[in-house]
Amino acid sequence: MKFLGVVIVCLTGALLLYGTGEFPDWGDPNSPASLHLSNDYIEKAFEETQVPNLVTAVLADYRGFDTMFETSVIFCAGLACFLLLRDFSQKKERFYRHIPTGVILHVKNSKKILKVGKEFEHMDKDWVPSDLIIKTVCRIIIPFIQLYALYVVAHGDFSPGGGFQGGVIFGSSLILLAISYDLKTLVNRIKEKVFGIYAAIGVLIYVGIGAICMPMGGNFLDYSKLAPLVPGDPHHIRALGMLGIEIGVGIAVTAVMAIIYINIVSEGRHDEGL
């Protein structure tokens, strides 16, 4: 297998190097790639969409259709993790802790499930007391990370960033919550159902905004036709449309990141994790 691998790799490498022979120089401003379409984008995009970040303008407007499927792909990944790993069966071996006394109960193979609440709480199998310092610091940092994520989503038009990046950062703040406390804190705080619904709703916002344009008399995703629905300057309607879809993307990505993390780290049982 190793030998075969080397042969295939060398063949591919040779082919690719052969292809580089006629490349224009790196950074050449007059290469065909930076002349044909890109000049049109750079010169017209700001004027037509009022969005200074050209990448966002192209991503969410000119090639918004790509981005829609990209979001679908993300949704799909979350759904796939759910479908593949989610395990609804209850574990027979359980650990409980009596909160007032701190006594740990080890229940083997019983059908009766203790009521979890004021007196008892669930316990992981390899239980580690969560570290006080990490816990406190994360408690302080997490709201700021979340605010920052929302800021990134909202400022996708003006600075680098956008729905996807903001969603990922928000998702990792939730992951941080799960790491610094334990997985159950996250799962109890935000239910699985909520994540599932949000993941779908996020993409639905995107597709929905696109679809509304059709009865308004435009093509799919043609935000300029939304002007009658939204108060404000019709000049900025495309920027507003982009903001709308980025919020959708952000919601979907947040939920999906959390779903993937929770399912992988707990093998789909949603009880204990990293």
Binding site: D131, V137, I140, I141
Partner: protein, 107 residues
């Protein structure tokens, strides 16, 4: 003004250099964490300070906010860097890594 910037950046670079040398030279994992975790933190502090001062060259309200934003980085690094260091040490302790001592070397 420029001199101040250059001074800050050089100091920062010096701290980073100390951190880098410390990482290479220290005998064991725990003592390596000392330069890595802390000299770098101070290095970030010094360098961001220098850059923030440079940013205020053309003074305006926006530039001030931008410098504040840079200091936000310092704020978070000051919070998170010791925590990360602590967490790594804790991991090392739990993993059962022995720390280097002088006696061991002599005996």
């Amino acid at each position: 003004m420029d001199i101040l910037v250059i001074f800050c950046l050089t100091i920062g670079l010096l701290f980073f250099l100390g951190g880098a040398v410390g990482i290479i030279r220290m005998p064991d994992f725990y003592s390596r964490l000392h330069p890595a975790g802390k000299l770098d933190t101070l290095g970030i502090f010094a360098m961001v300070m220098g850059l923030a001062i440079y940013n205020l060259h053309h003074f305006s309200f926006e530039a001030l906010l931008l410098s504040a934003k840079m200091f936000l980085i310092v704020f978070f690094v000051f919070l998170s860097s010791p925590t990360a260091t602590h967490s790594i040490v804790d991991a090392g302790m739990r993993a059962g890594l022995r720390h280097w001592t002088k006696k061991k070397r002599k005996g």
